[in-house]
């Protein structure tokens, strides 16, 4: 399955705010203006379109669920993945 990934936030910068969550309004290429909530608990997660994704959950990175994915890179950038319709 192919995803398009969008960089949401750097987790180190988010960590420095010392807040549990932050809501971001971003203009994603080919998608439009969306609202994404970034959360910090045991790991970093994204709440997008009613779907909650946690990077590294069950040792899955990227973590894929219901057409979306969440990936954290080696440089600690958090990405949102949206499944590309291959039809």
């Amino acid at each position: 399955m192919a995803y398009k990934y969008y960089k949401i936030i750097n987790t180190t910068e988010f960590d420095s705010l010392s807040i549990p969550s932050i809501e971001l309004t971003l203009n994603l290429e080919d998608v439009g203006e969306v609202t994404v909530m970034v959360t910090r608990g045991a790991g970093f997660g994204l709440l997008y379109n009613g779907v909650y994704l946690v990077a590294g959950l069950g040792d899955q990175n990227p973590f894929e669920f219901e057409g979306y994915a969440c990936y954290i890179s080696e440089t600690f950038d958090l990405y949102l993945g949206i499944l590309v319709d291959e039809t």
Partner: protein, 181 residues
């Protein structure tokens, strides 16, 4: 006293927290993150018995800009209104050696330094004339050699503050496939 018998003017100064503001400067924040620490309010009772400051007169005026546009077809004119300010003007008097006048003057000068950073509020309560968390628009002390009194004038308003521009929404490019750095 706060039950309305004696008028009271309350100064409150805040301190903006610079670190968080700098940290989120590059992030389009939608959530409301508190960035201000409020200090304790400083009340000054404008009572002759308590502080020796007597209110001579006070005025409350509400200014509304009204534009009436008449129609070329003779229909009912449209009226556009815009609020300008709601201003309270207080004239006080006290003796020249009154230390509370010095305090009032010092607080007004502190408010002057913080007016651009919006790190202060002034509240005034006297019966039907009340302003909560307003701004100081004028302060003057007048004294002359022929009298042992000083005349103090304070003007407060509850006009709209400078609106904050909405942060520009960041455009994020799409990456095909897993972004491996």
């Amino acid at each position: 006293m706060l039950n309305g018998i004696d008028p009271v003017i309350i100064f409150q100064f805040n301190k903006k927290i610079p670190n968080i503001a700098d940290a989120i400067a590059k992030i389009p924040v939608v959530a409301d993150i508190p960035t201000v620490v409020e200090n304790s309010p400083i009340p000054i009772y404008l009572s002759e018995a308590i502080t020796g400051i007597l209110i001579d007169s006070e005025d409350l005026s509400v200014d509304i800009q009204t534009d009436t546009e008449t129609k070329s077809d003779g229909k009912e004119p449209t009226v556009q209104q815009k609020g300008i300010a709601s201003t309270v003007s207080i004239n006080m008097e006290a003796l020249k050696d009154n230390l509370n006048v010095v305090l009032l003057s010092t607080l007004a000068q502190l408010a002057f330094e913080k007016c651009s950073s919006q790190e202060y509020f002034v509240s005034y309560l006297h019966g039907s004339i009340t302003i909560f968390r307003g701004q100081l628009t004028g302060f003057s002390i007048n004294q002359n050699a022929s009298s042992n009194k000083v005349m103090i004038k304070v003007e407060l308003t509850k006009g709209s503050k400078q609106p904050q521009p909405k942060a520009e929404t960041l455009t994020v490019p799409a990456i095909d496939g897993l972004p491996i750095n």
